[in-house]
Amino acid sequence: MDLSSLMFYLLAFMAVFFGYFTIAVANPIFSALNLALTMITLAGIFFLLDAYFIAGVQLAVYAGAVMVLFVMVLMLFDLSGEVRAFSRGLMSGIVKVGSALLVMLLILLSVLGYYGERLEIGAPPSTAEVVQPTTQDLAILLFSRYLFAFELLGLLLLVVAVGVVAVSRIKGGTHARD
């Protein structure tokens, strides 16, 4: 086993570990912190796959900005009610874990059914065939073939931002106009 596959197994184990604790811990703040650690380990896996730009963006956007905002907002709440609701006894926990497993089983079955058979893992392409995709290639694709989708996503985000401002200013809210 060489160094990169060792790193992969380590990072993959950590991603699954933190991902499990994201849903398993009762306190929402620890849950959010575990999710942030999952994001960071995912960025590490992207690094191993030579997808450096995606890895950097994963760090900067998801771990660095989105999750920081989540954690920040969660810290402002009184969370004792949520903690009690999520840690209320063994039976409900078993039911929750069981239903999660059931959903995962259903997804697995449907995926297998869709492809009809297990995916065969072929031999990895030889190093000569592998073209190292650069950030430049990504940018060119983004601004040529996927330009419409890219701009549409930007428009969607704008609509969401305007909608949030509108909703937060209706009567009775913290930022209400009157």
Binding site: A43, F47, G56, G64, A65, V71, M72, M75
Partner: protein, 386 residues
């Protein structure tokens, strides 16, 4: 990482050495800060312990290490202990990705009865192709340290301080990221090494499709992106929580912010993180706008040839070249670190609304305008007009 055991172990040692370099600079910077503030305020500063007060730092370190270990009773112990470590890590990881000098070429040699090399050792912890995206991503994780410290302490003042601090960091991260886009358009790369390599020789640029050169100026980024440099400098002051943006601490009028409950070495680790961020910020400024490790008008090859002509072997010449260029890099960094100290003891603190207005209503539009105008000019100048 390397092809054989020697290369791998040297690469690991390099990372540790650069981390230690960062940590060891902190006491010296604290000394500069105290003596510098004294100079600016017409005082003497600490001058009793050792020559120029230099061993005061040693006494401080002993004090920090032997202070009472204190944990608030209702705090989250794990988060309380994790926060100082989290504060230390991003700066160290980011600093390792910045090239501190020219790569060292080691010729093949014989040692312990076998052949080694030839090797090329980069003068940095690790080279990552996307350089700046990685550094931005990693240093954005520093906000967690503040949040963990503030929430983990179970203290209202700490929590409010942490929220104040992280809101500031998130706001200025945007201006920081946008102020860099201009220089990325000019260099056409994310990699620090390529950026530094482009800043050799006299000032050369494309003027409506014709290559123009101004002989008496070095080819530094500051001449292409003066506005970007100013915006970046202002934004990193906010990111490092230094005056005039030190609302996170504001020890004079608000309670000391997110590290109210911390003392001794744990408090010190927050300071090491802060000074580490200053170091990363200075290194970024130097790499983007002031030629990196290059000495103006002298190429690394010329220095290398000079050492070879002095009768040094190729390996030694390469090593000496790297050391000379490393000194040049550090001289430039020290100028910026001094600017950090200078500004801290010159400017008063912003009010919170002034801080937010500056970030969102002044710096962000200027950074956006800088990006758009740079893109248009780069397109116009580089397309052929004949």
């Amino acid at each position: 990482m390397g092809t054989d055991i020697l290369e791998v172990s040297i690469n690991f040692a390099k990372m540790v050495a650069i981390f230690l370099l960062m940590v060891q600079l902190v006491p010296l910077l604290v000394w500069v800060e105290r003596r510098g503030s004294a100079l600016i305020q017409n005082r003497l500063g600490p001058n009793r312990v050792g020559p120029l007060g230099l061993t005061q730092l040693l006494a401080d370190a002993v004090k920090f290490l032997t202070k009472e270990e204190f944990v608030p009773a209702k705090s989250h112990r794990f988060l309380f202990y994790a926060a100082p470590v989290v504060a230390l890590l991003p700066a160290a990881v980011a600093f390792n990705a910045i090239p501190l000098s020219h790569p060292i070429q080691v010729e093949a040699f014989e040692w312990l009865g076998r052949e080694w090399g030839p090797y090329t050792f980069l003068f940095q912890g690790y080279e990552i192709g996307i350089g700046i995206v990685f550094v931005l991503g990693v240093s954005s994780l520093a906000a967690y340290a503040l949040l963990l410290a503030g929430w983990g302490s179970d203290n209202k003042y700490s929590l409010l301080g942490a929220l104040r601090a992280s809101a500031q960091m998130i706001s200025y991260e945007l201006a920081l990221g946008l102020s860099i886009v201009g220089i990325l358009l000019i260099y056409n790369t994310f990699s620090f090494s390529e950026m530094v390599a482009q800043q050799t020789g006299p000032l050369t640029f494309m003027f409506f499709g014709q290559e123009t050169s101004i002989g008496f100026l070095p080819n530094w980024g500051i001449f292409f992106q003066p506005l970007g440099a100013i915006l970046l400098l202002a934004a990193v002051f906010a990111e490092t929580n230094r005056l005039p943006f030190d609302l996170p601490e504001a020890e004079a009028e608000l309670v000391a912010g997110y590290h109210t409950e911390y003392g001794g070495i744990k408090m010190n680790m927050f300071y090491i993180g802060e000074y580490g961020h200053m170091l990363v910020a200075s290194a970024l400024m130097v790499t983007f706008y002031f030629g990196g490790y290059h000495i103006p008008f002298i190429t690394p090859e010329q220095i290398n040839e000079f050492f070879v002509s002095q009768g040094q072997g190729l390996t030694q010449a390469s090593l000496l070249t790297a050391l000379v260029l490393h000194l040049s890099f550090f001289a430039k960094i020290l100028v910026f670190l001094w600017i950090f100290v200078w500004v801290r003891w010159t400017l008063p603190r912003f009010r919170y609304d002034q801080l937010m207005n500056l970030g969102w209503k002044t710096m962000l539009p200027w950074a956006l305008a800088n990006t758009v105008i740079t893109a248009i000019i780069v397109l116009m100048m580089r397309s052929s007009w004949s």
